[in-house]
């Protein structure tokens, strides 16, 4: 789907990214948005990835508010720390796509989740499950 945004969060920033997600969806349940990490880059860095409706992430740069059901587990400081790391890119943009890295949260729009993962150079962390 092209009206979704696929977001890759470095492992070290998952807590902050989940704070941001909670604010964007307006529910503390948003803290489960980034789990894992389930994906890895070619250089071995690990990322948690989520694919969400575009309308959710286009608001990522707006002023934030705590979720309506906030119980103290989400802070605006935490959410704003993640917001500062977001690099949002749409496939229609006439600028280079941002690269994943340890201190950037890359959000790609205009392509399917699987296409976005390939564009970011991320692959699932898989075990030899039987």
């Amino acid at each position: 789907m092209t009206d979704t945004v696929t977001v890759a969060v470095p492992e070290a920033h998952m807590v902050a990214a989940n704070c941001l997600a909670s604010c964007l969806v307006g529910q503390i349940a948003g803290q489960d948005t980034f789990r894992g990490p389930g994906y890895t880059s070619a250089t071995g860095e690990r990322y948690a990835v989520a694919s969400a409706p575009k309308t959710m992430w286009t608001a990522a740069f707006d002023p934030l508010a705590l979720p309506a059901d906030s119980d103290g587990s989400v802070s605006l400081d935490c959410a704003y720390a993640a917001q500062a790391m977001v690099a949002y890119w749409d496939a229609q943009d006439d600028v280079p796509m941002p690269a994943v890295g340890p201190d950037v949260i890359v959000a790609l729009a205009g392509m399917s989740g699987m296409e976005a993962l390939a564009a970011m150079g991320l692959s699932p962390i898989t075990a030899d499950e039987t």
């Binding site: 969806v25 389930g38 989740g113 692959s123």
Partner: protein, 255 residues
């Protein structure tokens, strides 16, 4: 022939259609994307799905007992029109129910699914996963092929044609081993190509049902379009064929 959905079976009665094809009486659960009234954007069932690209937070079981849901907004599959279906993005989308569908660890069962498997580089992504950890009952596809998976053994069948809509059926007898697992594609039984730990038996009794997620593997999500998923409490070939015909009608597949 008994036609479930007619009389006292909740929303299934209202949504039933299929040109005379019905589900067998052995049906334990049936999720059908062609019944719009069974789809909600939220887990509580307050906001119905009405249009393409709406997220699906709740998919009600047509039998009324085993609803699938997803609390995390970003992880909800999207509804699509045309041949109605749920699109799982393979990134994080999945559904869950805290149930075993009343099944024991090693039951007779069949899982009949109309789906379009999407391209994946992963050898094992799960269409249906019952239980947790070792000894689960999982229906899988991936670069290895179609497979029964148990997290400590497997039985693999022919390769997958990604992008092709099919009716896939995983089935097994009560008390059987991993080596006894069987699989049909569009109504035709497929030969196994390999088996790992064939003498083991499923042991998990966890009340956990997942669609689209392999919970034991990070990043283990399933890229697929899902039209319908039916679970039977039998390995009867007569019942399986009936459910396959029902599923095929919902995905536009000719058996």
């Amino acid at each position: 022939m008994m036609e479930l959905g007619l009389g006292g079976l909740g929303i299934y009665g209202a949504g039933w259609r299929g040109g005379g094809v019905s589900l067998p009486a052995s049906t334990l659960a049936a999720w059908d994307a062609s019944v719009l009234a069974s789809l909600y954007q939220d887990t509580g069932g307050a906001t119905p799905v009405t249009a393409a690209d709406d997220p699906v937070g709740l998919w009600k079981d047509q039998q009324g007992s085993y609803d699938l849901s997803q609390a995390t907004i970003a992880a909800r599959p999207l509804y699509q029109t045309g041949q109605p279906r749920l699109v799982f993005d393979g990134v994080d989308d999945h559904l869950f129910a805290a149930t075993r569908l009343g099944l024991a660890a090693n039951p007779a069962m069949a899982v009949v699914v109309a789906l379009t498997p999407k391209v994946t580089g992963v050898n094992d992504v799960r269409v249906f996963d019952l239980g947790n950890s070792a000894g689960v009952l999982s229906c899988s596809f991936g670069t290895d092929g179609w497979a029964w998976r148990h997290n400590n053994g497997n039985r693999i069948f022919g390769s997958v044609t990604f992008g092709q809509t099919v009716v896939a059926t995983w089935f097994r007898a009560a008390g059987s081993t991993y080596g006894d697992g069987r699989f049909r594609l569009n109504g035709v039984e497929q030969a196994a190509t390999s088996t790992a730990n064939p003498v083991l038996v499923p042991t998990s009794t966890a009340a956990e049902l997942r669609v689209g997620e392999n919970v034991t593997v990070a990043g283990g999500y399933t890229p697929m379009d899902l039209y319908t998923e039916v679970v039977l409490g039998t390995d009867s070939l007569t019942d399986i064929a009936q459910a396959e015909a029902w599923a095929a009608a919902r995905a536009g597949v000719t058996l």
